[in-house]
Symmetry: C2
Subunit: 411 residues, 2 copies
C-alpha cells in the first residue's frame, strides 16, 4: 500500500521523516507487505530534498493513482484542503490529517464522506499534537458517559503565560521570546486570541458529546489582556492563570463550550503544565478524572500522531465503526451568557472602602485577594458562582473602574 503527503511543511516533512526512520517497525505494525511514501504534493520546490523525486504540483497525480490508499493532509487551512480531502475520500482513499481548522470547520461532512465509501478519516494529530487523545476518548473511555473536558490546548499561549508566571515578564516581552524561539508566528493572533484552542475544543466537544460544534458557536477570549497583576492575584488565591478550552454536557442534552483565560487551582493536574506542553482533562462518569499530558505541537510529536493514524488506516482498510459524530443541531450549544462561574475582578478604586461597599451591594460576600506590591488604588476579589449575563449586568453598575475579569474553575 502506498502513501501520499499533501503539504510538505513542518508536519508533512516530519511525517516523511518518521516514516523513513522507523520504516521497518511501521511496516510490521501496519500488517501490510509494504507501506511506501510515493507522492508529495506541494506548490513549492524543494531542490536537493531527499524525497525530491516524489514531488508533484498536480493534485490529480495523487487522486488518480490507485496504488495510493492513504493520503496525509498537512497543508493547513480549510481551502483547498477540504476539496482535496473530500475528493480523496470519494475516490475510496483513507485520509489522515493534522489540520484542526479543517476538522473543526468540516469534520462532519468529511466523516460522512468517509462513511459512504467505507474508508477512514482520522485526525489524532489535530488536537494535542502527539498526545494520544482522540483515540482514547473514542475507544478506551467508551464505557463512560463523558461529562466534561478541559484542557491547555495551545502551547504558544501556555509558554507565554509560564514566562509571565515564573519570570515576571510582561505579555509583550514573553510574546517576543516566543517569537524568537519559533513558538509564535509573526502574526500571533490565531494563538494569543484563542482561535487555535477554539478549533481544538470544537473537535473534542464534537467527539465527546456527539454533534458537531462549530467555532462560531464557542465564546473565545485570548490572553492579550492578562497583566502581571492578574498573575499575582492568582498566586495569592493559590493558583495560576491558564488559557483553558472546556466543554460540559448538561442534563438536558445541551452542552457548553468556551475558551478563556481561567484561574486554575494550584493542586490541579493542569496547574503544573508549563511551557509549550499541553494537557487535557477528561471527566467520565465511571472513570473520574483522567489527564493526558505531552507536547502539543512540534514537528516529530505531531508527525508521530499522524503516522499512528496511517498505521491504523493500513491495518483496518475498512472504516473504523462508530468513529466520529453527527451533524450539528440547533440550540445545542448554550449561550455563553448563561454559563455560570465565579469571576475574579481586578479594579481601580481611588477610595478603597467605597469600592468595597459597591462590591458588597452588587455581589454580596466576595473573597478579597491581595499581594505584596499590589497597587494601593486597586482591589481584587472573587465573586460567588453567577451566570455571565447576571455578572455583566452587575459589573456595568459598579462605581469602580474594572481592569480585568477572569473566570475561576473548579479544577
Amino acid at each position: 500500500m502506498n502513501i501520499a503527503i499533501m503539504g510538505y511543511g513542518v508536519v508533512g516533512s516530519g511525517v516523511a521523516e518518521v516514516l523513513k526512520k522507523n520504516h521497518a517497525s511501521i511496516v510490521k505494525r501496519s500488517t501490510q507487505d509494504s507501506l511506501e511514501l510515493t507522492r508529495i504534493l506541494d506548490l513549492r520546490d524543494f531542490p536537493d530534498d531527499e524525497n525530491e523525486k516524489l514531488f508533484t504540483k498536480d493534485f490529480k497525480d495523487i487522486l488518480n493513482d490507485d496504488s495510493i490508499g492513504i493520503v496525509v493532509e498537512t497543508m493547513g487551512g480549510v481551502h483547498p484542503a477540504y476539496e482535496f480531502v473530500l475528493d480523496c475520500l470519494k475516490a475510496g482513499k483513507s485520509v489522515v490529517t493534522s489540520n484542526k481548522e479543517l476538522v473543526a470547520a468540516k469534520g462532519y461532512e468529511l466523516l460522512k464522506a468517509a462513511e459512504e465509501k467505507n474508508v477512514n478519516f482520522l485526525f489524532e494529530a489535530s488536537v494535542g499534537g502527539g498526545i494520544p487523545i482522540i483515540r482514547p476518548i473514542s475507544s478506551c473511555l467508551a464505557a463512560n458517559e463523558i461529562d466534561e473536558i478541559a484542557g491547555i490546548l495551545n502551547g504558544t499561549t501556555n509558554f507565554i503565560l509560564t514566562k509571565m508566571i515564573n519570570e515576571g515578564l510582561t505579555f509583550d516581552a514573553a510574546l517576543k521570546i516566543a517569537q524568537e524561539l519559533g513558538y509564535a508566528e509573526r502574526d500571533p493572533s490565531a494563538d494569543v486570541e484563542g482561535k487555535d484552542a477554539c478549533r481544538k475544543i470544537c473537535i473534542l466537544a464534537s467527539l465527546c458529546f456527539g454533534n458537531h460544534v462549530y467555532p462560531d458557536e464557542v465564546y473565545t477570549e485570548g490572553i492579550t489582556k492578562i497583566t502581571l497583576a492578574d498573575v499575582e492575584y492568582a498566586k495569592a488565591w493559590g493558583g495560576v492563570i491558564k488559557l483553558i478550552g472546556r466543554a460540559t454536557r448538561y442534563g438536558d442534552g445541551k452542552i457548553s463550550a468556551m475558551v478563556s483565560p481561567a484561574f486554575i487551582q494550584g493542586h490541579s493536574q493542569l496547574a503544573g503544565v508549563d511551557d509549550v506542553f499541553n494537557a487535557i482533562l477528561v471527566r467520565g462518569d465511571a472513570i473520574g478524572d483522567v489527564v493526558f499530558y505531552g507536547r502539543g505541537a512540534g514537528k516529530l510529536p505531531t508527525a508521530s500522531a499522524v503516522v499512528a493514524d496511517v498505521i491504523d488506516c493500513a491495518r483496518h482498510t475498512v472504516r473504523r465503526k462508530l468513529f466520529g459524530w453527527d451533524d450539528s443541531i440547533a440550540d445545542y450549544v448554550v449561550n455563553y451568557l448563561d454559563i455560570k462561574h465565579p469571576f475574579f475582578v481586578r479594579a481601580k478604586a481611588a477610595d478603597i472602602e467605597a469600592a468595597k461597599q459597591s462590591v458588597s451591594a452588587l455581589f454580596g460576600d466576595v473573597q478579597y485577594l491581595t499581594y505584596e506590591g499590589a497597587a494601593a488604588d486597586e482591589i481584587g476579589f472573587i465573586t460567588n458562582t453567577v451566570a455571565q449575563r447576571e455578572f455583566d449586568e452587575k459589573i456595568a453598575k459598579a462605581d469602580f473602574e474594572v481592569g480585568s475579569v477572569i473566570r475561576v474553575t473548579d479544577y
Copy 2:
C-alpha cells in the same frame, strides 16, 4: 452477543454495574444488536443481589454456553484464573481481564492461545485501573520506538508516601490510615513490598519492548524502609520520593526493568501525582514524553476500562492484529547490578568530617543535602551516576553506618 463475568468481587460487580448503568450507549458503541450479561461465576452466594438469577458455581455453564462470546475475568490470582481463561480462549471466546498477576505470569501463553483461535485477549484494566494506557501504547504510539516507560503504578503506596510527604506521618501511621480507608489490605505486603507495581511494569515492558518480562526477572524494592528523614532530604534536593516502576530499552536489544522508591524532581509531571492517583510516563523517539494520569484503582474506574475492552471485543469479533508480545528470551533483562543511577545515601556518622572524607575517598565529589531539623550525627548525599554493583562494593567499604539508599531519577 452475551457476556459472562468470572469473579463477582469489587471489580466484577463494578463491571455489572457499568454495563447496566450505561447499557444503551454501550450496546450502540458495541455495534452489536444486543450485549447482555447472562452469567456470573462465583463460589460465594449473593442473596438479594440484583443479578441473583445469573449466578453459577460451575465454570462449565459459561464454557459450554455458545451464546457467550465475551468472558470477563475478575477473579484475581493465577489459579484457577489461568485455566479458566485458557479454556475460554480455546473455546473461541474473547476474554477481558483486570488481573495483573495473571497477565504478568501468563500473558504470552494466553495471547498465543487467543491468536490461534483468532479471538481477543485484552487487559487494559490490568495497569493503571481506568487510565487508558495499554491501547494508547499499542495504537497511538505505534509510530514511535519507545525508549523508556516509568510510572507511579500503585495507588496504595502513593497514598502512604503522600501522607508522609505532606503531613509528616510515619510509614506505620500512614499505612494505618490507608487500611482504615480501605486503600490497603490487612496484609499490605503485595502493595508496600512493590509486588503489585512489579506485575504492572512487567506488562508494560512486555508491551513496549516486545518480549515477555516475568516478575522474577525484575528487581523489586518496596517502601517499608522509607523514613521521614529521607522525605526531608528529598525535599531539600528539590523533589519527592515516589515508588517508581520503570523499564528502559538499551541499544543492544536488552532492556532493564525495576521497581524501587526513587527521588523524583519537583518539576516532573510525576512529582505532583498524589494520593491514590497513578501516572505513567512514556518516552518515545518521535513524541518525547507523554504522561497518562488518573485513578489507578477503584471499582468504577477499573470496571470502565474492562467494559471498554468488552466493547472492543464486540466491535472486533476477530482478533486485533499485532496486539501483544513474543515469548521471553534469555539474557534479555539486564542484571539490576549493571543498572546505573545516582544514589542518595543517608548515613549516621559520629564524626561528620571523618565521614565526609570517607565519602570523598569512595565516591569523589558528591552533592551534600541537609534540612532544618536534621540529626546532628547524620549526613545525606547524592553520588554521581554509578552502576549498582560498583556502588554496592564501595558502600560496603564505608566507615559510616548507612541508613538509607534511594535511587535518583532524571525525570
